[in-house]
Structure formats: structure tokens, C-alpha cells
């Protein structure tokens, strides 16, 4: 047993008072969870603390909070480890971010999450009538592939941590987009292209993700929502060639082409290539992209001003010395009939061996 200090963010909507911190002491073995700590406070001292919780085993997805500022499930965060990361020795527990707070640690997930889940048409739209007295015959790998997205428990922890959501509250968000992949990647679904077009063309859709990995890092179920978003992009761009008004298609293509050519990102070329198929110098910009290009000029100028981009670097981007190897990776991948996507249920050969050692 050990003593831990909890600082719990309290908010009573009926009091008319702003939120405040409540300080509590708990006595638990360090391997027990932060949720166990909160429940001990509720049991012994103050049962008015509001927190949704049920299974205590990271299955029901109720107890998403921020612990020492980091979004997590309270039930699968060990209290001893949380204490080690705590500033001033007190573990801070706050409601999830990017969501309105209803009371104490209880947030309004309907407003910022479930509404968006419904936005992605979250049910199977079968390609054909189901076979009679039989299942759909589909590849085992395809089922395992979408099962990673199916593993999502909709706890909202990724939504809480999402940086894009902070800037654009209308962003569909990591969990709802992972849900979308669950249908797009499902061979039984017949609306792959419509779904992808819809999510690519929505300015708050798949290209609103900034690829920051925050959702991957915090997800308690290894759903890796960002990876699912990237899969949606690969399918939208690579498989369906969906050209969207957000220039997501062009940006994705430009990225891949530049890496194939230089091995590293040629940032000065990225912008013009994203907005046109060729370089800015050659004047192959797509007319529809002019407005966005102009809007991005201040960013480019700031880069020049801060020295991040220099005219020399911008014009003469060196290739990697072993650029041929990069090309070989490209041709190896492109020569395959099927795209191999690893996930938490399909572990790569090398991954297995590493873990073995």
C-alpha cells in the first residue's frame, strides 16, 4: 500500500461557481488503477464526484479523463506510474478535452463524438443481397484488417487528445473516421467509393488530420485511428483517384512523388506540387487551387523569414546518396498485387522476431 494524492477537477453546473480543484488522499497498491483511486475517494469520502465508469477493464470505454494532462482511461492507468509522472506529487485528473463538461469528470460525448459517428453513415451498406442461409465469403485478412477499427470502444480518449479538433471543432475526428474505415475496408460494404468521396470532399474530413500521432499514442485499444485515416487516404487517392477540393489528392500524390524522387521531403516543391501536378516554375498549377495557394503564401514567407527555407535549399534539394534503395522500396511495393497492411491482429514477421528476442 502507498499513499497517493489526487487533484480532481470539480465542476458543479448547478452551483453557478466555476470549476475548482478538489484534493484527496488515497491508499492503494501502486499497481492498482487511477480509477480505483477515484472510486476509493467516492466510497470513503465524497460520493458526489461525477465520473462515468463501469467495467474497470478497459472494455466499456466509460472512464476517459486526462491524467496529468494526458488523455487516458482511468481504469488502465496505474496509479503508481501516474504518481511518478505527476508534478508536485499530486496526480491531476481532469475531464477530457475538446468536449463540453457536464459535471466534474463527465463530458458531453454526444455533442462532439456520437454526432460525428452518425455523420459517417455508420452501418454496413451491403454491396449485394446477403446470401441465403450462408455467410458472405470474404478473405480472412480483410476481416482481421477491419477488426482493428472494430476494437474501438468509443471512449473518446483520442478525440480528447486530437490537435486538429482543437483548431477545427468540426473535424470529424479520429474515432469517427476509424469507424468509417471499418466500413470502407469491409469487403461486404458496397459504398466504398461514395464513402471515400464524401470524406475526402468534406473540408472537415480525412484531409483535416495533421498526422500528429496524438491519437495513436493515447488510444487504449491500439486502434491507431490515424493509421485508419491514412488507409482511407491511400484508398481515396491510390485506389479511386478521388480529386477533392481540399487538394488532399494533390498533396498526397506530391508527397509520394517527392519521396520517390529525392528520398526526403523537398519542402519548397511540396506546396506547388500539391496544388498542381507539376512544379510551380513550369506553371502547371490547377486553376482551382490558386486561392489556396495564395492563402498558403504567408506560411511560405514565414519559412523564408525564419530561415527554415532558404532560396538555395528551395531550389537545389539534394537527393539521398542511396536514393536507388528508396526507388527499390517503391518498385517492390508497387509490384505487389495486394497492399499488405499490418495491424494489431496481423503482426509482421520481423515484429514477432524482435519481440521474441
Amino acid at each position: 500500500m502507498a499513499d497517493f494524492k489526487l487533484k480532481i477537477r470539480r465542476f458543479d453546473p448547478e452551483s453557478g461557481e466555476p470549476a475548482y480543484w478538489g484534493d484527496f488522499d488515497v491508499d492503494l497498491p501502486p499497481e492498482r488503477s487511477v480509477l480505483d483511486g477515484i472510486l476509493q475517494v467516492k466510497d470513503r469520502e465524497d460520493a458526489s464526484i461525477g465520473i462515468r465508469c463501469s467495467c474497470r477493464a478497459a472494455i466499456c470505454g466509460s472512464c476517459g479523463v486526462r491524467i496529468n494532462g494526458k488523455s487516458a482511461l482511468a481504469c488502465n492507468t496505474r496509479i503508481g506510474e501516474a504518481a511518478e509522472r505527476a508534478r508536485d506529487g499530486a496526480i491531476t485528473i481532469e475531464p477530457m478535452g475538446n468536449m463540453p463538461v457536464v459535471k466534474d469528470l463527465i463530458t458531453d460525448m454526444e455533442a462532439v463524438h456520437w454526432k460525428k459517428v452518425r455523420r459517417v453513415v455508420p452501418w454496413l451498406l451491403p454491396a449485394e443481397e446477403p446470401p441465403e442461409h450462408s455467410e458472405y465469403i470474404v478473405p480472412a485478412e480483410a476481416m482481421l484488417d477491419v477488426t482493428q477499427a472494430m476494437a474501438c470502444i468509443h471512449c473518446g480518449v483520442c478525440v480528447s487528445a486530437c490537435l486538429s479538433m482543437e483548431v477545427d471543432p468540426h473535424f470529424i475526428g479520429p474515432a469517427a473516421l476509424a469507424k468509417a474505415y471499418r466500413f470502407v475496408g469491409d469487403p461486404r460494404d458496397g459504398a466504398e467509393e461514395e464513402r471515400l468521396k464524401d470524406l475526402a470532399e468534406d473540408p472537415h474530413g480525412i484531409y483535416d488530420c495533421t498526422h500528429c500521432f496524438a491519437c495513436v499514442e493515447v488510444c487504449p485499444k491500439d486502434v491507431a485511428p490515424m493509421n485508419q485515416i491514412m488507409r482511407l487516404r491511400r484508398r481515396a487517392t491510390g485506389d479511386h483517384g478521388i480529386k477533392d477540393d481540399n487538394n488532399g489528392y494533390g498533396h498526397e500524390k506530391a508527397f509520394v512523388n517527392l519521396i520517390e524522387k529525392y528520398g526526403t521531403l523537398h519542402e519548397a516543391q511540396l506546396l506547388p506540387r500539391s496544388f498542381g501536378d507539376g512544379s510551380l516554375v513550369k506553371g502547371q498549377i490547377e486553376p482551382g487551387a490558386v486561392k489556396q495557394l495564395i492563402e498558403s503564401l504567408p506560411t511560405a514567407l514565414r519559412g523564408l523569414k525564419s530561415g527554415k527555407v532558404t532560396p538555395k535549399k528551395a531550389l537545389l534539394h539534394p537527393k539521398l546518396p542511396d536514393q536507388d534503395q528508396v526507388r527499390r522500396v517503391f518498385s517492390e511495393v508497387e509490384s505487389k498485387d495486394d497492399r499488405v497492411e499490418l495491424n494489431l491482429y496481423i503482426v509482421g514477421e520481423s515484429g514477432g522476431e524482435e519481440a521474441e528476442a
Binding site: 463501469s54 466509460s62 457536464v102 455467410e135 480472412a140 472494430m150 476494437a151 496481423i346
Partner: protein, 560 residues
């Protein structure tokens, strides 16, 4: 006053399946749940769902396994229906989009499970319940005409003057307002009561609400003494390690390194039925061959690594996060722990209780398909088959019935109960103290091994706690998400459940299924091949009996 043809209370698998079936039957449907539907405890069903779908398998084989598993207490007509309808139910789920495991030909693949004579358990890794629950919720979102009342807490069922069900009283947790729902039919799908035990694999929400509410308006409870202890739960926390682990080949060892199931079930070994394995483990532990922490070891390392990642992923996480054990590298310590309520509100094969218009489905119901002991992967099947049958039946049965007008006074009465708790000053014990004592007493005396003396102690304790519960006070005086006052109501529900369980266990003077009486160690078909029913008659619980329905399987000795 919200009005629906069919009101479903509880939104786990049974509730959602009932709501979908009732909607397809043309009824206007409301579904109420004290948690968001995807938080329901059906999530925790890891291993899979049974169905005799393979051409080599037969429903009769599935039915026989279930009947033998039930220790012949299951009603064979109901079991026949469940096993016959299992394949189509499974295929419907597949057509709705459940990502069931496939074999190399792309067809549905199976795993082995306890007490089964064929590998007939269909699964999604080890998140089967979660996957089905989320897919049903997808379908629920698609059906815009089904009204969802998420985070509404039902406090009481309401009848009309003739005793027919007329609706329910609920509290909107978001703002604390009380609402009277009018309904031509009410389907209870509120789950089990594991929280009356400590530890338990059950979630904090599993407080037997529906069982208690039905009991309070006179519905008989059946087989309540049959409480399943799951053989593989983590010591202390009670978290579940799926039977799928043993289905995939994991072994059980005592502290002396003996694979002890050889002694108890030489044919089925670790895959004997749950009551048998739990008793074997508890015997090893009681006789000093367990580990010092009161456990035995489950060795999953014999399962190939790739297979563990593909099929037992959640168990890797549970081991790592909650026990600090890498199950791919070392055995994990486990013990029997409270898991499942075989008994519940007595229903017929269409989910109808003896109260007109009141249905029950899933763990809160007792059809009875599980009898004395439920087989692994039959619970999901039970929720779905009888959830669907309840919803479909209710949608037809209400046709032509007038819109009931439940008495407004019922809301006032419920409001008074809540007001009394909220306004009370603390003089007695806390809700948490009473709950903790209840959990300890039940786990000590009403567990794997029972005897009359212990059961009497348990009954005395439960009755004392019932009195103490009358004086609990709460810290939260507010209206918005006052979980504290709901906890006080849940405590009363739990105590009603506990009382019925103990009375049933005292009454049944034999050993059958999950009920093992050390003072009556044998099964006694002559006297006890019957269901125990417990009803509230105003003055207290009343015991009566009902026949076990036998069709083509005569009771015989049970060996694994």
C-alpha cells in the same frame, strides 16, 4: 409523457436485439438505458457465440451439450429453440456486418469452448461481445424510428388496475427529472446482478435492477441460486480471462505443477463445463495445492504466439495492464470468480413473464436455457435469440390494445423515495460500506461450495443490510448526474437479488450445477429435478416450484 408501443429497458445485446425486432414488427419502440448502449456489459463477452452451423454439426448435439451443461435443470423445449435458431441468428449478425473470424476459404471459422462436443464457437478475436454490441448499435442508429433514451435510469415498473404492464418510471440522469413512460409492452433486458459479489467479473452497472423491479411487482424469479463462478478470473480484481484461452489450448496447473484437471475431468480436461472446472480449482486451492495468493495457474504459453495475437489479443492486454504478466511468456494466476446469473425473471420461450405485457430477455431472464450451469458462448446466443423473440412477440401481441395510461401517482411515489434519500442526514452507514459487506458475505457463503450454516449466516446478513439500506444518506444533493442517489437505489435492487439467491440456495437441498452443497453433495433427481420460484407476496418472499420441461433427453450422470 413519452409513449411507445414497446419499451425496452436495457440496451445490451438482448435489449438492442429486442428493439430491432420490435421495430421490424411495426411497433413504435423506445429503448432506455442507464448507460450509453455501447457501455453495456455485453461488451465483456469475449469468447464467442455458439451455433451448430457446420454441416457436420447438429442442433441436437448443441442442445444436448447445453442440457448436460445445465445439469438437466434447463428446460429442453427452450433449449431446442435456442439451438435450432442459432445458425440463422448468427448469419443475420454476419449480414449486418459483424467481423467474424474467417477460415482460409473465407468462411466463418470456429474455436473450441468448454462443455461442447464440437468446435462451434464463432468469434471476433476475443472481442466478440463488443463487436456484436457495436454492430447492433449501428443498426439501432440506422433505425431512426427507434427512440433511444441514453443515460436514463429506470426506477420502477408501472401496472394498470388490472395488473397489466403500463409503463415505467425513469430518471433522466442528465438533469434529474423524473419521467413516466407509457407502453403497451415492456421488455426488461437489464442484465445480471454480479455486483452483489466481490470480487466479480461483472461491471459496476450489473446490479440486477430489472430482476428486482419485476420481483417487486409480483413476477416470480426462477433458478436464482444458480450463480456461475467462472474458472479463470484474476485474483483480487476479478477481471475475466476468456474461456477462449482454454479453447485455444491453454492448461491449468496447481502450485505443484500438476495438470490437475486429469483428476476431475479426464476426457474434457480444461474444457469441462465451468462449474466442474471451478470446483476442481477451488478444491485444489482449499486442499493446499494452490499458490499462496489463493490461485492456480493458467498457462497460455502453449498457444502459438501468432495465434495469441490474432485470437487472444485482449487477454494479452488484460495480463499486461491488470496483472503485470506477459501471458505469451509466463502463466497467469487465476481463480474462480463470480460471473453470471443463470436465474432471473421467469419467462416462457417468447420472453413473456407471468405479468401481462411484461417480457424479459438476456441475463435478467430465466427461460430457462442455462439451468444449473451455463456453457461458455451460450450467453450471447441467449440474449440474441430470446431478445429477438421477445421483441417480435411483443410487437404482435400489442396490436389492438388500447394505449395504457399509467397512473401519474407512480412518478410522485418514486420522486418521494429519491427526495427522502437526498434530504436525509447521515446517521447510518455509507452505500459503499453496505455494498462491500454484501459482496464479502456472498463471496464467502454463497459461492462455489455452500452449506446450510453459511447460507443462514448470509441470509441474516442480507436482511440486516436491507434494514441498514433504509437509512443511507448521500453526499450528492444535486440533480445533474447524481450518481450517488442512483447508487443508493441500485443497492436496494442488489439486496432484493441477494435475498432471492440465498433463499433459493437454502431451499435446494442437493448439489446440481453451480449449486454445490457440501451438506447435500449429490444430485437428487427424485426430489429436486424442478425449478425453485421465488415471488414477493407482500409479506416477504414466497417459494414455489415449477416443472423442468424434458423433451428427448432423460437425465443421466454427468461426466466430462
Amino acid at each position: 409523457m413519452p409513449q411507445h408501443d414497446v419499451l425496452v429497458i436495457g440496451a445490451g445485446l438482448a435489449g438492442q436485439r429486442a428493439a430491432l425486432a420490435a421495430a421490424e414488427g411495426g411497433a413504435s419502440v423506445g429503448i432506455i438505458s442507464k448507460v450509453h448502449p455501447v457501455r453495456s456489459h455485453s461488451n465483456a463477452a469475449q469468447g464467442g457465440i455458439n451455433a451448430a452451423l457446420n454441416p457436420e454439426d447438429t442442433w441436437e448435439s448443441h442442445a444436448f451439450d447445453t442440457i448436460k451443461g445445465s445439469d438437466y435443470l434447463g428446460d429442453q423445449d427452450a433449449i431446442e429453440i435456442m439451438c435450432r435458431e442459432a445458425p440463422e441468428e448468427l448469419l443475420e449478425l454476419e449480414h449486418w456486418g459483424v467481423t467474424f473470424h474467417r477460415n482460409e476459404e473465407g468462411r466463418l471459422g470456429t474455436r473450441a469452448f468448454g462443455g461442447a462436443s464440437a468446435a462451434r464457437t464463432y468469434y471476433v478475436a476475443d472481442i466478440t461481445g463488443q463487436a456484436i454490441l457495436h454492430v447492433l448499435y449501428e443498426q439501432l442508429m440506422r433505425h431512426e424510428e427507434v427512440y433511444r433514451y441514453e443515460e436514463w435510469f429506470t426506477t420502477a415498473l408501472v401496472q394498470d388496475e388490472e395488473g397489466r404492464i403500463a409503463g415505467a418510471v425513469t430518471r433522466n440522469m442528465r438533469d434529474g427529472s423524473m419521467e413516466l413512460f407509457s407502453a403497451r409492452a415492456v421488455i426488461l433486458a437489464t442484465g445480471g446482478n454480479g455486483q452483489i459479489y466481490d470480487p466479480t467479473t461483472n461491471a459496476l452497472i450489473c446490479t440486477g435492477d430489472g430482476i428486482a423491479m419485476a420481483y417487486r411487482i409480483g413476477a416470480p424469479l426462477m433458478d436464482m441460486e444458480m450463480i456461475q463462478y467462472h474458472p479463470t478470473t484474476l485474483a483480487g480484481l476479478g477481471l475475466l480471462i476468456t474461456e477462449g484461452a482454454r479453447g485455444e489450448g491453454a492448461h491449468l496447473y496447481n502450485a505443484q505443477g500438476e495438470r490437475f484437471m486429469e483428476k476431475y475431468a479426464p476426457n474434457k480436461m480444461e474444457l469441462a463445463s465451468r462449474d466442474v472446472v471451478s470446483r476442481a480449482e477451488q478444491t485444489e486451492i482449499n486442499e493446499g495445492r494452490g499458490f499462496p495468493d489463493g490461485t492456480v495457474a493458467l498457462d497460455i504459453t502453449v498457444v502459438p504466439r501468432k495465434r495469441i495475437h490474432e485470437a487472444l489479443r485482449e487477454i494479452v492486454n488484460v495480463g499486461r495492464d491488470f496483472a503485470g504478466v506477459d501471458i505469451t511468456q509466463e502463466p497467469i494466476h487465476i481463480k474462480p470468480g463470480n460471473h453470471y446469473t443463470m436465474g432471473g425473471v421467469r419467462t416462457d420461450v417468447n420472453g413473456q413473464t407471468p405479468i401481462p405485457g411484461l417480457y424479459a430477455a438476456g441475463e435478467c431472464a430465466c427461460v430457462s436455457v442455462h439451468g444449473g450451469n451455463r456453457l461458455g458462448a451460450n450467453s450471447l446466443l441467449d440474449t440474441l435469440v430470446f431478445g429477438r423473440r421477445s421483441g417480435a412477440h411483443a410487437a404482435q401481441a400489442i396490436k389492438g390494445l388500447p394505449v395504457p395510461e399509467p397512473a401519474r401517482a407512480s412518478v410522485g411515489a418514486e420522486q418521494e423515495v429519491i427526495d427522502a434519500i437526498v434530504s436525509r442526514d447521515r446517521t447510518g452507514r455509507r452505500v459503499s460500506e453496505i455494498k462491500a459487506e454484501l459482496g464479502q458475505v456472498m463471496d464467502r457463503y454463497v459461492a462455489v461450495f455452500r452449506d446450510e450454516q453459511g447460507l443462514n449466516t448470509a441470509l441474516e446478513t442480507v436482511r440486516r443490510l436491507q434494514e441498514e439500506a433504509q437509512t443511507v444518506a448521500v453526499d450528492d444533493k444535486g440533480s445533474v448526474f447524481n450518481q450517488d442517489v442512483l447508487g443508493a437505489l441500485e443497492l436496494q435492487f442488489m439486496l432484493d437479488n441477494a435475498e432471492a439467491i440465498v433463499i433459493g440456495a437454502i431451499e435446494r437441498k442437493e448439489s446440481r450445477g453451480a449449486q454445490y452443497r457440501t451438506d447435500f453433495p449429490d444430485r437428487n433427481d427424485d426430489e429436486w429435478l424442478k425449478h425453485i420460484n421465488i415471488s414477493a407476496n407482500g409479506e416477504g418472499p414466497e417459494v414455489s416450484y415449477s416443472e423442468v420441461t424434458l423433451t428427448q433427453w432423460e437425465p443421466e450422470e454427468r461426466k466430462y
